[in-house]
Symmetry: C2
Subunit: 293 residues, 2 copies
């Protein structure tokens, strides 16, 4: 943030102002919007919810219970305790209620794939569907600068033009069933967010998701941390200048809006959306795995 | 190249075919062109010159003597010995003859800057000017896949749109005083080039330039090597897919061709080209450094 040491009170004030400015400057939402905040129970999403509530925004939390053993149980407990202590409304959705056998360990077991990609797909679908169902117009997530930089590096290493075109702190809906998606912490480093959460007395899940061991995102983060150590400010300028210089160039190349998924009716670039394809794959593999009587 | 072990003869054949295919596929030049090959005395440029000569292309080497002590003396010796042994024509230019006090150590001493950026500028100018002066139409350099990937990573981390627009294996002249610039080894890894040079019995300078210690390019290379170890093929797809997907997008955003430098007359995007600006800076600082009588 600044190459300066601040006392607790000043740091909290500066952090909150920085987030508020990011919201205003990028036209993310105003105090008349009712914002759905995706909260995992980790430092970033709880810090975001905390800032938004303190700044007088109308918020409701949405926690997805992923079924990843103790990690998910602890995440849900911390999120519920956070909401209860502050009197903030919280929606909790259990993946098992969304579709049969779609908890992350079941999906991983049936598809024999690394769970992270499937987990991302499932979470995106559930966040979109819940926001639509409850009539929210804005969905906020706690992605921080380190997340954004790692995602950008991955998109760039594979030159995923579609992903580059969509990597924005504010993603306006390209389909009537989508809501505006915003990332108010996109220029706030993981270190700053952790400091804010700690100094605010937020009790968050410290453990990383057990599935993240060896995840590509962590490798990208390690690389970027090494660069940052040698050239401070690299992550910030990488993400900020992408938004300024390159993202508009990629955005200009995209022009096909999504249609409707034939199964669930949510926006989809194919006939069936990737969530419903995944559900179908899991169900087909489960049937094949069943012993024939 | 391939995840297979080859005998010496097969490796040499495959390497040469790969380079030849890269030249043909990218329409770099044909056997009727007379190609000026920039040769530093290192493995990449000597390997390139060797392949081109063996494949029946008409080539002349161009060696720039940079004045970096033993390193430059050894580089010149190895290059001259290589040309002599094969009966290949070689032009040698000493930076001290191009402009006064423009050898790399003098420039570094007078400008108090890391020498690598100045060295790049000086070499580019001298290569362009020599190609023009001798009437060559194609200038080939030995940049390998590792060089291209590191350069691309640097351009991407800083989102240098102009540099991204120009990063191509074939750069067509955008000014009548420019020649076509080609990089036939752009998809050939450093490891492959070193193996080719070794198996061909090429005697090259093994030492890195003494100025390169701590250079940003080496940090980028180390990062990319770490990624490559975890995800083999990363460098290749990073560079190849950039050319396929992203480079055209950036190229489409550029439209101002260079004018003529007011001092040397070579192509320049400003009133005075960056080489002449550097010469002027060095001369001004030298004058100021002189003891007044």
């Amino acid at each position: 943030m600044h190459n300066t040491a601040f006392c607790r009170v000043c740091f909290l004030l500066l952090f909150e102002r920085k987030v508020d400015r990011s919201i205003a400057k990028n036209h993310m939402f105003s105090r008349s919007d009712h914002v759905l905040v995706a909260v995992s129970g980790g430092k970033d999403s709880l810090a975001l919810w905390h800032v938004l509530a303190r700044q007088g925004y109308q918020t409701t939390g949405l926690h997805l219970s992923l079924g990843i053993g103790d990690y998910s149980a602890q995440s849900r407990d911390k999120t519920e305790a956070f909401a209860l202590a502050r009197g903030l409304p919280l929606i909790v959705r259990d993946l098992q209620e969304v579709a049969e056998d779609i908890s992350i360990p079941r999906v991983a077991a049936f598809t024999n794939r690394r769970p992270c990609a499937a987990c991302g797909k499932i979470k995106r679908h559930c966040l979109d569907a819940t926001a639509l169902e409850h009539g929210f117009t804005v969905l906020a997530t706690g992605h921080n600068l380190d997340d954004e930089a790692a995602r950008l590096l991955g998109n760039v290493l594979h030159w995923q033009q579609d992903h580059l075109a969509k990597q924005q702190p504010v993603l306006q809906p390209v389909h009537p069933k989508f809501v505006t998606k915003v990332r108010p912490l996109y220029l706030t480093s993981e270190f700053e967010t952790a400091t804010y959460a700690f100094l605010s007395g937020i009790d968050y899940v410290i453990d990383e998701c057990p599935n993240s061991v060896g995840a590509t995102q962590l490798l990208y983060k390690a690389m970027l941390n090494r660069l940052e150590a040698e050239m401070p400010g690299t992550k910030h300028s990488f993400v900020r200048d992408f938004q300024r210089v390159a993202q508009p160039v990629f955005a200009a190349t995209r022009n096909t809006p999504p249609g409707d998924c034939a199964v669930c009716g949510m926006p989809s670039y194919g006939t069936v959306c990737s969530f419903c394809s995944l559900v179908a794959e899991v169900h087909a593999k489960r049937e094949r795995a069943r012993p024939t009587a």
